[in-house]
Point group: C2
Chain length 339, copies 2
DNA sequence: CGCTCGAACGTTAGCGCTAACGGCCCTTTC
DNA sequence: GAAAGGGCCGTTAGCGCTAACGTTCGAGCG
């Protein structure tokens, strides 16, 4: 244990104590072969006696294996991004990686340089959780600068790019929204309205596709912001309309906003109005009434994103996805229309 | 702009281009005085022409000013910790700091070395968001190793330590819970029950103190986990008891769990049962019915934590707190008891 | 007019680590 | 029994930056 203030113990201190060269110590801490067992044991003993811990900056500088990722996101507090981040952290911790966070303000415009200088060094690996325009732009900038070391999650409009398979880790948001919409249609609703969050274009596509399939013209989607309050406001007119019997929401938070607005408008759930969310956030199952939604494994996606990045860095094959597949959870905010 | 794959531009490349020494470039990027305006301009031009961006690892290694913080937390997805993290990130970004995340698993036991080796280098600064035993332990380990560079938020049992003022950034959780309990008492409830989350001992203290003030013996607090589900389960017996008319919850998530359990038990809110949360999470205002709770400015606390750390690193005075003071928000889950 | 002094730079020496290479010694092989 | 081959370890040279000290040169002074 190095005393506070004193110069931290370095690889040379360990080397002297163990009676070997500093390079041998380096070999031991990097699990390199070519070290005799006896020597290895001696070095490890010296390491723990002195409380030596490698300096990550020095390792990075000296050009060893990469051991950090920078995660770009626009909000660490939203359920989806928070869980994705958590998944990334899980994977990173298991691999001995350090995770750096860089939060991008959606209302700000960043230059290429603004984005790139947030990396710990030129060409450092990054994961972008892209759900809005700002993060999508950041993703493009980063990928241009370092195609081999940047992956992304999310489902913005640009995920349709041809090479997306190479760097995108994502659930099939289109299919997910399509399934939920079909479910509502199957309950007998004439049509389904859509409350859209910023970005996430593919969910909206899925909703539109499901309607097109049965020959129903899609009503104009209603645009909401990311907050519950903005959803309640955006949905006010929708819930006031007695002809509206089913609303599909971009995510659970928006659905809670709709539920709130519906309550204020005096409409009963699910009798007058069916509401379906997306994400299965922690509250969905415990809301009163419990929210019908789709379980999305964001944490798994985050882990998958890290693993893809890790594989790319080590030149390995793309690993197989490891997340749960989405599942429609029918609870108590949806049902057949009354009339 | 450095081409992908090619060696990134260094301070020497800039120096050559500008016709100065590398040290002059260093002075320019560090805003040091002693550089003629004309030279400074020349160097800045070279920097932008070449797309030079300083290597953070090299700067750290060379012993320049500290430019990163490691944040220790046990869950990045919980509302309180997520918002605190966000506040830290805000402050850090403004000061040009890099934020590293280190998530600690509450179910795991870490050695001193496990914790310390998560820092980017020996003695790197850290902020601990301490709400449970694991993070509290981490806080102690880190502070012992580097008292000058570790601050914490949260309100665990150990925040009563004598020197806490020096490193703790925290809301007065005791007063907050006391105020909420007093409010319930003032509505005519004979007593108030408490649903406790892990850690956060001071909130429980505040509740107990409020009861003691009016000479009511505090009922046994009910212990919950962090999840809404665990709260619903833990509160099942409580809500089934018709003598229980008011429950104070450790945070909003627990309150949602109680609301859910109460609904299942067929008790009406707030007629049969008053429920008060704590945190004012985004959903509280939009829940049906809207949740009575206390607004806590976690983001402000996070910013305050970063600013305290920053001040310590630069040897400045402790800055004044900058967060909103807590406020009781009486909404629709609380009221006078029916009988 | 020589001197001091300070502004404005340059030079040198590390920070702690890894890569690359070199050297020693003990086997193995024909 | 000499050559070839490895296993094991040491030496050297950086990575990109900053700290500390040196140097130059012109202004200001008596």
């Amino acid at each position: 244990m190095s005393a506070a203030g004193a110069r931290p113990v370095s690889i040379f201190d360990v080397a002297k104590r163990a009676g070997v060269s500093h390079q041998t110590v380096s070999r031991v801490i990097n699990d390199a072969p070519q070290v005799a067992d006896a020597t290895r044991a001696k070095v490890k003993a010296a390491i723990s006696e002195l409380g030596y811990r490698p300096n990550r900056s020095a390792r990075t500088l000296a050009g060893g294996a990469v051991r950090s990722v920078t995660v770009f996101t626009f909000d660490t507090a939203l359920y989806g991004t928070a869980e994705t981040l958590r998944g990334i952290e899980d994977g990173a911790a298991a691999a001995g990686f350090t995770v750096l966070i860089s939060v991008l303000d959606p209302d700000q415009t960043y230059t290429d340089d603004d984005i790139l200088s947030r990396l710990s060094h030129d060409g450092a690996p990054a994961i972008v959780i892209a759900h809005d325009d700002t993060t999508t732009r950041a993703r493009r900038i980063l990928r241009e600068a370092r195609p081999g070391a940047v992956v992304a999650t999310g489902d913005d409009k640009l995920s349709r790019e041809p090479d997306a398979a190479d760097w995108l880790v994502s659930l099939d948001d289109r299919a997910v929204a399509e399934r939920a919409t079909r479910y509502l249609l199957s309950m007998g609703h004439r049509t389904v309205h859509y409350l859209a969050m910023p970005g996430r274009a593919r969910r909206q596509d899925g909703w539109a596709d499901a309607l097109a399939e049965v020959g129903v013209e899609a009503p104009e989607p209603v645009q909401s912001g990311w907050t519950i309050g903005s959803a309640a406001e955006a949905a006010a007119a929708l819930v006031a309309d007695p002809d509206v019997t089913a609303i599909m929401c971009g995510n659970d938070d928006l659905a809670f906003g709709v539920l709130h607005a519906a309550h204020r408008a005096g409409r009963s759930i699910p009798g007058d109005l069916s509401v379906v969310g997306c994400d299965d956030s922690p509250l969905a199952a415990f809301n009163v009434p419990p929210l019908t939604t789709i379980d999305l494994d964001f944490r798994g996606v985050g882990r998958g994103a890290f693993e893809l990045l890790h594989a790319k860095l080590e030149g390995r094959e793309r690993p197989r996805p490891v997340w749960r597949s989405p599942e429609l959870l029918v609870r108590e905010t949806s049902g057949p229309p009354r009339h």
